[in-house]
Symmetry: C2
Amino acid sequence: MKMSRMGARPEKMAPKDAETINHKLLVQAGFVRQLMAGVYTYLPFGLRVLRNIEKIIREEMDAIGGEEILMPMLHPAEIWKKTGGWDSVDILFKLTSRTDRDYALGSSQEEVVTPTMKEFIRSYRDLPRMPYHIQWKFRDELRSKSGIMRGREFLMKDMYSFHLDQADFDRFYEIAKSAYLKVFSRMGLDAKVTEASGGDFSEKISYEFEVLTDAGEVNILYCDSCEFCANVDDLSNYKEGDKCPKCGKSKLKPSVAAEVGNVFDLGQKYSKAFDMKVANDKGEMIYPIMGCYGIGITRTMGVIVEKFHDDKGIIWPKNIAPFMVHLIDIKQNDKALEIYQLLQAKGIEVLWDDRDINVGVKFSDADLIGCPWRLVVSEKSMSTNEIEVKARQNDEPEMMNVESFINSLKSD
Amino acid sequence: MKMSRMGARPEKMAPKDAETINHKLLVQAGFVRQLMAGVYTYLPFGLRVLRNIEKIIREEMDAIGGEEILMPMLHPAEIWKKTGGWDSVDILFKLTSRTDRDYALGSSQEEVVTPTMKEFIRSYRDLPRMPYHIQWKFRDELRSKSGIMRGREFLMKDMYSFHLDQADFDRFYEIAKSAYLKVFSRMGLDAKVTEASGGDFSEKISYEFEVLTDAGEVNILYCDSCEFCANVDDLSNYKEGDKCPKCGKSKLKPSVAAEVGNVFDLGQKYSKAFDMKVANDKGEMIYPIMGCYGIGITRTMGVIVEKFHDDKGIIWPKNIAPFMVHLIDIKQNDKALEIYQLLQAKGIEVLWDDRDINVGVKFSDADLIGCPWRLVVSEKSMSTNEIEVKARQNDEPEMMNVESFINSLKSD
């Protein structure tokens, strides 16, 4: 993409109303614009990051048997009344039509997926099933000051699973957990799994996927020697300095963390509410056990900015960066065009700052935007055929042949 | 995709409440489910069709300089009050938060795109700009009985253009018109361009892209000899039997049509409402001329089903079909698997009905779902290495070598 053709672009100054790093950097670098607290427009850079996150999630959900569908956002009140959510879910947005019908804006989709799958799941032969979708959700938050980390309108992947019995849910939970850890690892995040209460969704336990960051809203205790981690706000069985209850090797450490995913064991709450009965292999009609598996996509994008930045700007993990390469030319437009086209031909996504502006601004914008590699084409490139290559997180560039750079990316 | 792995599947019977062909066939064939009138869940087949339509639109919008962004659906009341839409747009859904703030659900995005682009467009050098997005919209319809053709929640591509003057809008309108006709032609639709009134959006004229179909809601007069077409509900300057005012060759014929796209010349209505001023090349501050360009994506999917079906089911145009090939095996699972994998390796999207069910049901489901090509692997295939190939719209199959079939698709 050529920056001269783009409407949206980075700003010299950070927005004055930004209270969080993700809000400040994402606005200044030209990824998003706030329409109101908790509601954002995604500009071309921001949309590319969302699509990259979606792609990773989609691949991993498909790999464990997920079936992608798309459920609506405007829900009739009746389905929320059936489960009691109409009165109990305080963040539910409600509205009334001209014809006096009551609707809710989907804050979650158990109320839609259960009656939908009820039509298709008739016997144990149809189980398990794992429909999922990637869709915008709405929450009537009292405050929304964490940038894109806690939106009133936010993008989420939610999967729902239907099982013949608890054992099958437990079996699938382990598969989903591995897939979730793989998703976060592909995005450059080290996520910890904690146990917490089920909240609105379930009387049972839930599992949260947490990333350690000062921008988080959750207090956790974790072990350095094993994967043990607990949400202390919810479950207070543990305290700082206790020996790890799982491995016994280290003492539990406190941290602040941000939730990027969660799993709820829904039990039979929703299958009972919608009278979804399935014949088991003895011909008896049973209520399936359900699970719900969320990953906050816009939220995760915000957490990544909180985790990966320096005082110059964002440092995107390579799998979700808006572009792999940020190309800058110092008055060598023809040579830059040649390299731009070569990179594109090799399938490398490249942002070319071809604007006729001060080169100092180009450098600072490149740091702000935060693509993994910065390439500079200068006069020197003309005689040597070498370009200046700098990884975003490094201070010093090195001179490199273009082909060698491309090969190094490919083998990365 | 293997049908045995899918939760959603075709039904024997059409839904009883369906009043339109698109509703009936899309539900029966397993593409969508109605959550309430005008609000649908898209099952895997349906989501694939939406994504195919989106892809065509995205390619053509990018080709004319469109810049993809994503604007939110939850809008603060203030922006709608600025333009008067809060009181004048009767289909606007309104809601109030717990903290007593008023919101609208976006039925269009002029109120968001104008203040957003105001930040980036500062002088004539920044013009023209054409941001677009593909997003769900909401309309508080009194009735919604046309299947996915008139949703209360519907998917739309809307592009907005910003111009220095009327001449530049006129220039770009011709470019956008060509791109629109290309979009519809790639989807197998012959669209006619009509002039109509500007409605809520503009005091100026608007352009509608209409597809002739009995399921439509618009009365038009059109000429067989040239591209002349007029919306008679809106502009009554013409009547049936008049000589074509454009070419004079034929008499105007009446038809019913469905609107699949539209263009509004917005003039300075929104740039003035949001005080968006831009310096022209003389340094004078002017209000840009704006245009708005919509294509209803879910609506177009519905129109296509209305246009392309027979009494057995849907007949998808190949560029938007959920799969290019529907593979059926008659108790030859191993051979079918081999062909399934071969087609996939060649990049051909294939749905394999590998269910252990009556083969007659497989045949009727294939007609119902409507993929362009049906392949049957039977015992005969084992000795001859030939498969039965039938185009969805033909009655008679022919025997063909698998490789020849693949080559014929590739050269198509």
